[in-house]
């Protein structure tokens, strides 16, 4: 019985907060507001829907900001760390066990990514519900240090990925191709059991980046 009460705690707090929200005068029911917020975090607006923004530069910034829901997601930033150590999990804590960049971002001799990571996500067997799979992909490796995103604002990341010195010497067309079709980028939408995927689909993300480039690749101010 005690356990049930303990688990009811956060839910009751949630309802109390929702009630406050109603008294603040919103027309929407608290439940639908919460659902909309969740759906918004899990989906991407189609690139075409940004046509309603008449000013091209504003439209470009809005497109990149929408794509930023993917770019700044832990699934992406965790392997674009600012140090030589990858991050891990939704909380983006330093990777456990401690592993480091090494040659080509594939780990140090004796402790390469492939010591534990495989060409696909591997479900773990006979474990607690909190650990469901070990992530994997044939190209599993860290992004080079000049492509570090950890700790940067979306505006800074935007400037960075346009800069050939910090984007792997890619042209804008190559960048669109990378975002839309790269297999390791695509892992973000298929991260294995127990991990939240990045929002939308890779095709939708690729279209946002394409439209952003076509509108002049303007960057958010911050």
């Amino acid at each position: 019985m005690k356990f049930k009460l303990a688990f009811a705690g956060p839910a009751l707090t949630g309802i109390a907060a929702a009630c406050l929200f109603v008294t603040a005068g919103t027309a929407l029911s608290p439940a639908s507001v919460a659902q909309d917020a969740n759906a918004d975090a899990r989906t991407l607006r189609p690139a075409a829907s940004f046509q309603s923004i008449a000013n091209e530069q504003e439209r470009s910034v809005a497109l990149f900001t929408e794509a930023g829901k993917v770019i700044q997601h832990p699934r992406c930033v965790n392997c674009h760390p600012a140090t030589d150590r990858p991050l891990q999990g939704a909380s983006m804590h330093p990777h456990q066990p401690p592993v480091f960049r090494g040659d080509g971002g594939m780990g140090l001799p004796g402790m390469q990514c492939t010591t534990c990571h495989s060409a696909e996500n591997i479900p773990v067997v006979g474990q607690a519900d909190t650990v469901k799979s070990i992530p994997g992909n044939p190209a599993w490796h860290l992004a080079p240090i000049e492509m570090a995103w950890e700790g940067k604002t979306l505006g800074q990341i935007c400037q960075q990925i346009k800069d050939p010195a910090r984007n792997g010497d890619m042209t804008m067309d190559e960048l669109v191709e990378h975002m839309a079709h790269d297999e390791l980028v695509g892992w973000g939408w298929n991260p294995g059991a127990g991990r939240e995927p990045v929002p939308g689909t890779q095709a939708e993300f690729g279209e946002l980046i394409r439209a952003w480039v076509d509108t002049g690749a303007a960057c958010p101010a911050s």
Binding site: Q96, P97, P98, V99, F100, G102, L108, P109, G110, M111, Q112, T114, T115, C116, S118, I122, P123, V124, V125, G126, Q127, V131, I134
Partner: protein
């Protein structure tokens, strides 16, 4: 049916292809030198060599091992393995011993890749092998001793 080489001998396994290699090695092949510590690639106790590279067997489905060579603590051989064995015995490295087959497999793999490792090389390669008895200082010293013994 999965066919692979285990310590130089051809073996087959016709159970669930998702069965972890560790379970096949311990429960079916009865090679119990390789240990189960965590089951989620966090401790290193289950380290084997898969096609010559260190690999956590607890998160390696047997289906992945088709056509591959697996070496466990029972079968590891060569000059690095000999040097590690001598160095380990010389310094009495293990305390309870539970982590040690994983430590040895990681140490041998390191020496195969980096014959004269620095402290940083050792820390990098061994960081995934946890020892609850904290024999880390002896492990590091023994790896240096093993490297020195192979020189010349």
């Amino acid at each position: 049916m999965v066919t692979f080489t285990l310590n130089g001998q051809e073996r087959t396994f016709d159970g669930d292809p998702d069965t972890p290699l560790l379970w096949v090695v311990r429960d079916f092949e009865k090679l119990t030198g390789t240990k189960y510590g965590c089951g989620v690639a966090q401790c290193g106790a289950c380290t084997v060599h898969l096609d010559g590279m260190p690999r956590r067997s607890c998160i390696t489905p047997i289906s992945m091992v088709e056509g591959s060579e697996v070496v466990t603590i029972e079968g590891v051989s060569g000059k690095e393995a000999d040097a590690v064995k001598t160095a380990w015995a010389g310094l009495d490295v293990p305390q309870c011993g539970y982590c040690q087959s994983g430590q040895v497999m990681s140490a041998v793999a390191l020496l195969q890749m980096v014959p004269k490792p620095t402290d940083a090389d050792i820390d990098g390669a061994m960081a995934g092998n946890i020892c609850r008895c904290a024999t880390y200082h002896r492990i590091r010293a023994a790896i240096h001793n093993a490297a020195s013994s192979m020189e010349g």
